[in-house]
Symmetry: C2
Subunit: 346 residues, 2 copies
DNA sequence: CTGAAAGCGCTAACAA
DNA sequence: TTGTTAGCGCTTTCAG
């Protein structure tokens, strides 16, 4: 690969590399005409500053890392897009890593990220007892959690995060189902070691107790966040004697799995079964899918996370206190919950 | 951020940095016990080689770039996943960039990629007269095209690529439609400046002429590859007097847009309108969507591209001739073309 | 306003 | 088997 260095362009004008460097970086102490000439020549020669040399002295990479579940999952993709665009806007590039919700993978990803000298990291798949966070603290690597929270107050205080009001989200969703008269309801949860799943479950339960509904233990299934696993969980539920009239599902992608399982054995949605998801991924609104769900703006979450992280990197956040941003969410009533057919019961 | 250098660990044992470097990199010329001790100490001290220092001397970043349309588009995401996993497997990290099918954006992305010192680039959104390719040639940056071809034989000979048999794909698809008896067929194309769109269109046209079908010029719409644009194109088509009985669409994501447009004005699929897409993205098989389409293994395309690129970077590809891999594709008959209702006409 | 010199952390020649 | 020296390309004192 071709390489033009500041030395090369210094030689052209018989000036020092310092002058060239200063000229090119807009620093003071260079004559106006000299600067102009140098800048022009640099462009003409196709000069590109050497990333490694610069990084070596400045100790900055202008790169951030992002660990998400999996880029082929629509929720992750939308979140990644938010991070990407905000980061780009602020002059940073993004390195993407998939953890597949696996702690060991996450560790590996962070190892690589550290070794690549990124300036900071956005973590979107952290679990409650995630040792990886501690290792970032140790080396004082800036990081921000997105769509996740650490509940342990000892740690939580120091941790920046962008999340959604999951508790309120599923409180709303569960309440909606109760008001429609459902009493035999199932819930398919992601991973109860994760803050979102915990909050969602608690939120739903609050509404359920308000309405005197209880979820039998065999109708509460924790299965991980994938479509495939939710499909299997639904199959298990459908094989029970006490088949529920409604299922609350902690993710639209998972809900699509439930939907497939239902269709496969001839259960009609919403006639025989109401389902409510979470996230409002972009396919949820498609004709024939029309999933009732909770809208969470993944894009904005990602973008906000990137903004927060970069502020932190640049040291513009001198507050000393941690920054916890919680976003609102909205119940989107579509067809899968059957509201358009029955409305609320009195 | 904390920094342990080889100097620090050299000091521990009063040896030179060279010895430490050699020990840590598994190079010969270090005593067995010395090596063991050094490696152990490095681990204990949490040593991480400085990426920038290493890159500066080795001139390798072990990072590759990927330019795709947009990560939130399922086709792109699956392709990116293939690149990501193969690259990771081979010890490379991936930097992701969205071009949104815009040449100017692509140029910007490549500028950044170059400035970050990546070892090579995978391009998935190149158009026929893409000047960006030339600029990569100029600086001798290794690259591979994925899902794209350069048709101009003058250039094409030198260019590595992984693509699908698009011509055959749409030949198959169009033939299928013709055999079902459709005669009034529309086609929604992506961007006729792009190799895939060109090949798809030609392939379809061959089948059409075989069956004596012609597409009236107002039923051939070139609209770009997004769902939204395809939605609008479909609206335009539906407003015509000569409404077609079938539409061939150059992408499943686009097909979903057409589907939405149809449902919105009460056109029933497949009863009133047959549609056939391309790509078989992972939502195409969902109950109620069941899109007839052509399967193209995006994941494999990405992975193969990454493999090819990294071979090239490592100089293992001494063939001197360019490597063009063309993958097969399969027609997946689901419900949107109505085959299950009518089958082939005699 | 300009330049010389030093050094970031690492690897590669070359000596010892 | 080990150490010394030099240098990758850049920025940053500090003199002129």
């Amino acid at each position: 690969m071709i390489k033009v260095t500041i030395k090369d362009i210094a030689r052209q004008f018989k000036v020092s590399t310092t002058t060239v460097s200063n000229a090119l970086n807009g620093k003071p102490g260079v004559g106006k005409t000299a600067r102009k000439k140098i800048v022009q020549m640099a462009k003409k020669m196709g000069y590109q500053p050497n990333y490694f040399a610069r990084g070596l002295v400045s100790r900055q990479s202008y790169a951030i890392g992002l660990t998400i579940a999996n880029i082929s999952d629509p929720f992750s993709a939308e979140l990644a897009l938010g991070v990407y665009e905000k980061a780009n806007e602020l002059g940073y590039t993004m390195m993407l890593f998939n953890t597949n919700y696996n702690l060991g993978n996450e560790t590996k990803c962070l190892e690589i990220l550290k070794s690549k000298g990124v300036d900071g990291i956005i973590l979107a798949t952290v679990t409650q007892d995630d040792s990886n966070i501690d290792s970032l603290d140790e080396i004082q690597m800036p990081y921000v959690l997105v769509n996740r929270l650490i509940l342990n107050p000892k740690k939580a205080n120091r941790i920046d995060s962008v999340s959604v009001d999951d508790y309120g989200s599923f409180y709303q969703a569960a309440k909606h189902l109760c008001r429609m008269g459902h009493q035999n309801i199932a819930m398919i949860a992601g991973d109860m070691d994760v803050s979102t799943a915990i909050a969602l479950t608690h939120g739903a339960n609050e509404a359920f107790t308000e309405y005197g509904v209880t979820i039998p233990s065999d109708l509460f299934i924790e299965c991980g966040f994938s479509r495939e696993r939710a499909y299997q969980a639904a199959k298990a539920i459908f094989s029970k004697k006490n088949r529920p009239t409604a299922i609350l599902i902690q993710g639209d992608n998972m809900a699509l799995g439930v939907r497939e399982a239902a269709y496969e054995i001839g259960i009609k949605i919403p006639d025989d079964l109401a389902i409510v998801g979470l996230d409002d991924i972009n396919i949820s609104s498609l004709a024939g899918i029309e999933l009732t769900t909770i809208r969470q703006n993944q894009y904005k979450m990602g973008a906000t996370g990137a903004q927060l992280l970069i502020n932190k990197i640049k040291g513009e956040d001198h507050s000393g206190i941690s920054n916890k941003i919680v976003m609102e969410s909205d119940l989107i009533i579509r067809k899968t919950c059957g509201f358009h057919l029955k409305g609320y019961v009195k």
